[in-house]
Amino acid sequence: MSQETLRIQKISGHAGTVAGEGTQREYTICKLIDTTTCIGCKACEVACMEWNDLPFGETIFGNTYQTMPETRWNYWNLILFNEHEREDGSLMWLMRKNQCMHCADPGCLAACPSDGAIVQYTNGIVDFQQANCIGCGYCITGCPFDIPKLNPQTKRVFKCTLCTDRVGEGLEPACIKSCPTGCLHFGSKDDMLDLAEKRAKQLRDHSNYPNAGVYDPKGVGGTSVVYVLHDAANPELYGGLPKDPHIPWSVKLWKGPLKWLGNVAMVGGLIGLFVHYLRFGPKDRDEEEMKAETKS
């Protein structure tokens, strides 16, 4: 067993215990994204491409400065440019760095049927292990943020890794390091929440954003990516950030009660079969049927 395995606290499609659960004392890491100071320079997009050596693809022009409509299997980090009209009729940009949120209660991991294709480390990173991925795409439906994307050629799903290789070696993620305005921060979850709350208070008290607040949705158990928003009451304005994200009920039902119901039906059926055999014995063929058979 590798040391890395001991750092895992959740495994997808896994029966039995998880080796690393409760065995490591580690802090949750966190990315803080202050949307109020993002200038949409896309340095984080480029840094992500460069660090992960992702193959280049065509960009798509959609009448904004946005690189493409949504993230791709080879484009994990995308700044969404949202034009917003203020009450006085003037325009402003609500820019949001869109990437995997690394939920504490990840929908992708819950939906994944393949043993070990998605794992969650004790530091909070949700990581896809492409070697174990079977390409079913259930994680895509399980994600409330529409982040995992399928590579149609290799039939494997990819997404932001929160730079596990860098974080594992004690470095910050590539996007965080590049950000020239300092709108991205990296640290422990507690520290980042503290910083986020301070910034939100500053925006409320001094910058005329009475609704400014922190986005750390409880529906998915909190996230390892936290936003500071000008208008925390309406996160939908930021390119469809869900107000109360949660794992789809279909996934919950299917992976919860239905799974157990199915198990009970299957095992119960087998036990029933055995009991039936003990009680009634093997099936006897009718004598008439035997006669008809010998005649023909």
């Binding site: 590798s2 174990n132 596990t164 390091k177 950000c179």
Partner: protein, 193 residues
């Protein structure tokens, strides 16, 4: 083939032992830490060549500078110790690796003749000779020895110099010396950054 019970037992025992020895494991690997691609890479400090901000960068190359190794660039990122950018970079700076590893990178001098539409290849020697001849010709034709009031000025106003942000102090010193010697007064070397 019709194995006997004895054969079957033998084969499975040998096979099982071999699998145990060679570490055959049916369990999936739950975590394989991705290799940090810059773990033992060489760090070389450099300066971003684009704008006047002059951000510090680190160029990561594989190889430990041993004699038989040609260093290969694998990554470029900001220099956290540089006072200008403290590790950050803009999107152009963050893409510097593509500046180095690029099929379309210009590797030799080219010239576009007056009125021409195509760039032609030219050797370094020819390029330097041609530039020197043109500087001499331009200077000879436009040299101003005295101004309207009769003061000696020794100016070459038809030549200008534009420097870049990656020019070092030493380089700029030499530039100023050389250009002043020619009488060039239109000097711009971004020395203010």
């Amino acid at each position: 083939m019709n194995p006997t019970r004895r054969d079957f037992l033998k084969l499975t025992t040998v096979g099982g032992a071999a699998a145990a020895v060679f570490g055959f494991d049916l369990k999936p690997a739950y975590a394989q830490l991705r290799v940090l691609k810059i773990a033992r890479a060489n760090e070389t400090r450099s300066t971003c060549p684009y704008c006047a901000v002059g951000c510090g960068t680190i160029i990561y190359t594989i190889g430990d500078r041993a004699k038989n190794v040609t260093a290969q660039v694998v990554h470029v990122e900001g220099d956290p110790d540089h006072p200008t950018n403290r590790g950050t970079l803009c999107p152009k700076g963050a893409s510097l690796e593509q500046d180095i590893l690029n099929d379309r990178r210009l590797l030799k001098p080219q010239v576009r003749r007056p009125g021409g539409t195509q760039w032609e290849d030219i050797s370094w020697d020819d390029a330097l000779n041609e530039i020197a001849a043109r500087v001499k010709k331009t200077r000879d034709e436009s040299f101003i020895e005295k101004d309207a009031n009769g003061h000696t000025v020794n100016r070459t106003e038809s030549i200008a110099w534009i420097g870049g942000c990656t020019d070092t102090n030493e380089f700029n010193y030499l530039v100023v010396k050389a250009m002043r010697a020619l009488g060039v007064v239109h000097l711009e070397n971004q020395a203010r950054v």
